[in-house]
Amino acid sequence: MRDYTEEQLERYSRHILLNDVGVEGQERLLDGKVLIIGAGGLGSPAALYLAAAGVGTIGIVDGDRVDISNLQRQIAHFTKDVGVWKADSAAEKMRAINPDVNVIPYNKYLFASNIKEIIGKYDFVIDGTDNFAAKFLINDACILGNIPFSHGGILRFDGQTFTINPNESACLRCLFDKPPPPNLVPTCSEAGVLGAIAGMLGTIQAAEALKFLTGAGELLNNKLLTFNALDMQFRTITVNKNENCPICGHNPTITELVDAEQAVCDLK
């Protein structure tokens, strides 16, 4: 067990006090490695909470720079950061919250060609991306690499998330075998989002990562959590592993990674 300074004990006291976390759970967080893909609406709150929690190594990936239209919901970025790499901008805030954490920013997008090498260094992955191509790529890379991950998505007033334990619980392709055709993806004019729901969903994803690392409670395995913020209704839908799933079923047809076609409207 590591020696805690007085400051570290104070910093992590509210975790240590929890019976389901305790000193042992905090140790697992400090030893933990989480990769956050996307430093946007979902990735921002996830990154800040995981850094605050003392997750020892946090990678954060984004190939984009901060735009002023991001600031309505991507809370790791400030007005002064417009034009800065999003991963660098988020990393700066994470280090400011908790200098104990080793933050590794990746100022790049992930593709079939580079995702495997990066995710292989982590215990858990948070999908905070905003497009179907990336979501299916992350799913496939995590299933093939046997890395648990949290899927998340938001649009308008709606959010959905579930947590995948590869080959044990349902994956994204068990539910949706392939990305929707580009003409079914919302157009730019349909793609507003209430800023605060990014925080709601990204924070649920952060909680799942913390539960995974500490072993506390039950993950959203085989449980798709959805909410609509207009009536503030939450639902948990039981989902099942699909034996005909093209990647984790009995006879998988996907055995290597490929990049899917991007949607027409590439939102920032």
Binding site: M1, L9, S13, I16, L17
Partner: protein
């Protein structure tokens, strides 16, 4: 069986119990932690919280202006 000691007379809630939990985490099941603490809030809460987490309070004694509590780790 080993006996470890911990002085939390200068700490306040909830750091009193945080430090007791850390000290308990460092010893093995059945080992004893002797905690020196102040009367009032720490005396009321630390033994209770330790019990709630399954540890056994062996004794509570006055020790000068403070109290000495012996806790056996679960």
């Amino acid at each position: 069986m080993t006996v470890e000691t911990l002085d939390i007379t200068k700490d306040h809630c909830p750091m009193t119990f945080v430090k007791a939990k850390l000290a308990l985490a460092k010893i093995s099941s059945g080992d004893v932690l002797e905690v020196t603490l102040s009367g009032g809030e720490p005396l009321e809460n630390v033994p209770k919280s330790a019990q709630e987490e399954g540890h056994k309070i062996i004794s509570i004694e006055e020790s000068g202006d403070n109290y000495l509590i012996k806790i056996a780790k679960k």
